[in-house]
């Protein structure tokens, strides 16, 4: 709610747009490409106005072909540009999956650094907006398992802008997943000028002494709610927003855990093979002696994301998160 001259009050999706604008203005080599990103301004309006500002050569409406989008972006990047391909929904990234894991992720290694792939692949992701099938996927774990990739999920407007700028300037590929449930959920003061938020750094959203919760993206809000409710019940919850999932800020994870000795991980993705496993494995490698209780996994179920009539039952919500944290505390 700041009224400072140099900041604007933006939603997350507006901050994404603002971040794109800033980077395109700053660096001629940056270009945006994808389905409906141009004249239409993106199906979520994340690229609104960019086409008018930068023209059809830098805000490119592509044919409907995800492998083509990622694949040509890789060629452009190798040639020296900095493409920011948008894939319309994370559930439609898979036709481009081969190009992401077999090429974007490996170009630097394959060529011993001669060729690089500075692309930022943006995609709206996650559930909760009553969208059709395949529109609610949250499979960040596919990308965090692939060496050579970096994976970012912002949870606030100001992070969205700063992390996106950092991703675009980064010399290596970044998968930038935008939690669309909170695209317009709230506004925040976002500086007008360009800035970067360092990749690979977690952010503590709430300090607490009793238990640590590690989460990201759209799950930060219900987690904060759960933390506040638990505060009333005398449980002091620390909430760590990972923001960058790969490389992960394991120092922050370990430090918080060693303080509290108890933890929960909250994510939307299915439990089995979700990132919670990685976080828990890391914690017990580093800090087993601090561990006072099993680390709770509060996650989506191991089922395909359902059509919207049931999505509320699929997604972790405040009560479930509270229960999970409570399990970790009361063990």
């Amino acid at each position: 709610m700041s009224t400072e001259r140099s900041s604007q009050n933006l939603t997350l999706v507006q901050a994404v747009r603002d971040g794109l604008y800033g980077e395109m203005a700053r660096d001629e080599d940056v270009l945006v490409m994808g389905e409906d990103v141009g004249r239409n301004g993106g199906v979520f309006r994340a690229t609104q106005g960019l086409y008018e500002e930068f023209g059809a050569d830098r805000v490119v409406d592509t044919p409907l072909a995800e492998s083509g989008i990622v694949g040509t972006a890789i060629g452009m990047a190798a040639y020296g540009l900095r493409p920011v391909p948008e894939l319309q929904f994370a559930g439609f990234m898979y036709p481009g999956f081969d190009q992401i894991v077999s090429h974007a992720a490996r170009l630097r290694t394959r060529s011993r650094g001669r060729y690089t792939c500075p692309i930022t692949i943006r995609a709206p992701y996650g559930g909760g907006i009553r969208a059709p099938e395949h529109h609610s996927e949250s499979k960040e774990a596919f990308y965090t398992h692939e060496p050579g990739l970096q994976v970012v999920v912002p949870s606030t407007p100001s992070d969205a802008k700063g992390l996106l700028a950092a991703a675009i300037r980064d010399p290596d590929p970044v998968v930038f997943l935008e939690p669309k449930l909170i695209y317009r959920a709230f506004r925040e003061a976002v500086p007008e000028e360009s800035y970067t938020t360092e990749l690979g750094t977690a952010e503590r959203r709430r300090e607490g002494e009793d238990v640590s919760v590690f989460t990201w993206g759209a799950m930060v809000r219900p987690t904060m709610e759960a933390a506040e409710e638990l505060a009333d019940e005398g449980v002091d919850v620390e909430v760590v927003d990972l923001r960058t999932l790969k490389p992960m800020d394991t120092d922050a994870v370990v430090a918080s855990f060693e303080k509290t000795g108890r933890a929960a991980v909250v994510h939307e993705a299915p439990k089995t093979g979700g990132l919670a496993g990685e976080i828990i494995a890391t914690i017990q490698e580093e800090s087993l002696l601090y561990q006072k209780a099993p680390i709770a996994r509060v996650t989506g179920f191991d089922v395909p994301f359902p059509l919207y009539a049931l999505e509320d039952y699929y997604l972790p919500e405040t009560a479930r998160i509270k229960d999970g944290i409570t399990d970790a505390v009361e063990f």
Binding site: D36, N40, K271, F301, Y314, A319
Partner: protein
């Protein structure tokens, strides 16, 4: 004297039977349908148009989720679906509400699906329609595979799959059609070229002169048809189906049909087409609206009059109202459905998660869970 098959025409040479006023164009032959079949075709067009309007307004009223309208595209759906035999299969995308109804899948189920209930995507056993596919072009290889299976089993089945102009850019279009050519499967690839893939116009989707012409790359016929002329669509599809079943010596079974048409409305209820296209363009295409065209033809033929139109409109209204009533009175799926159809047998971990969900709901109640 056997007339040259429409499939053998140059794909740029669009098949058309009805002109914009419903007259028969020079040299065209009207398909050999009985009068009541013509009327049925007309009724379906009206049913589709009315259903579409109601569905959009349900979404507006918050009674349904995102919905992809089809106004303007009814002729392609009805003409093609009516050309199939009962044993043939349809592999739809997400916009063929009406084609599915022609094939016997209830409009109520269609609504149910767009109301977010998977039950709506499970056609009854006797309805030979596959579940709708949302990821673009992915149903194309499925259709090829099903047609191939039918052929391997020595069955007489033809598989028809629908997709849009945008879908032709996807790798799955290419791979699905290429397999179809190589294995010579009884399939009809029906492209609803409605000129737009959300905001991308046809001419920016591909530099190829026509979409029908792409068939050449797979060794089989492609044909362009006026997709807003139900008779032309019927005729072209019928020939394609006949060829799939029983190809002339030296000819391959599959056909790519490009039905040239226009979507009058938004891409989906979440889309605002005024951002990317001019009203004028829409108006120009409205001159090709299939409904007045077929109506003109039928009146001219003497099988339709004002009275019958009114009766049809009434019955169509009632049918749609009933479908809505059925869909809205269908119970919401039980949360336990989340786990019911992931595998034939529920693995232990899913049983545990189901039990967890039961406990959670018991502990908190659904109200508290989703305040």
């Amino acid at each position: 004297m056997v007339p040259l098959s429409v499939l053998q025409r140059d794909p740029d040479d669009r098949v058309q039977i009805l002109d914009e006023d419903g007259g028969v164009v020079d040299g065209a032959t009207v398909p050999d349908l009985a009068d009541d079949e013509f009327v049925e075709m007309y009724r379906y067009l009206k049913l589709g148009r009315h259903f579409d309007q109601r569905a959009v307004s349900l979404q507006r009223q918050g009674r349904m989720g995102t919905y992809p309208p089809m106004a303007g595209q009814e002729a392609s759906q009805v003409g093609s679906a009516m050309a199939l035999s009962a044993g043939d299969w349809t592999f739809p995308s997400y916009r063929e509400h009406l084609a599915l109804a022609v094939r016997g899948w209830s409009l109520a189920d269609d609504l149910l699906y767009w109301m977010g209930n998977e039950a709506g995507n499970a056609p009854p056993e006797d309805v030979k329609v596959f579940s709708m596919a949302v990821p673009i072009a992915t149903q194309i290889p499925h259709a090829t595979g099903a047609a191939w299976a039918a052929k391997l089993r020595g069955e007489d089945t033809v598989v028809l799959t629908y997709f849009g102009d945008g879908a032709t850019s996807e790798g799955d279009f290419h791979e699905g059609l290429n397999f179809a050519g190589v294995f010579d499967v009884p399939a009809v690839f029906f492209c609803n070229n409605n000129q737009w893939a959300i905001s991308l116009p046809r001419e920016r989707q591909t530099a190829s002169a026509t979409l029908a012409g792409k068939a050449d790359a797979y060794g089989f016929d492609g044909v362009q048809v006026d997709g807003m002329d139900p008779l032309a669509v019927y005729q072209v599809t019928q020939e394609a189906v006949a060829k799939a079943r029983d190809p002339p010596e030296g000819d391959l079974r599959p056909t790519l049909v490009e039905a040239v048409q226009y979507r009058f409305g938004a891409h989906t209820t979440a889309d605002d087409p005024s951002v990317y296209r001019e009203d004028e363009e829409v108006e120009r295409w409205k001159d090709k609206d299939p409904i007045p065209r077929l109506e003109g033809f039928l009146r001219e033929r003497g099988v339709l009059d004002d009275e019958l139109v009114v009766r049809i409109e009434e019955s169509v209204s009632e049918e749609v109202a009933n479908a809505i009533e059925t869909a809205e009175s269908t119970e919401r799926p039980s949360p336990e459905e989340l786990f019911a159809n992931v595998y034939a047998e529920m693995p232990q971990r899913l049983e545990q998660q189901l039990q967890y969900l039961r406990d959670l709901r018991e502990r908190h109640g659904d109200e508290e869970l989703f305040q």
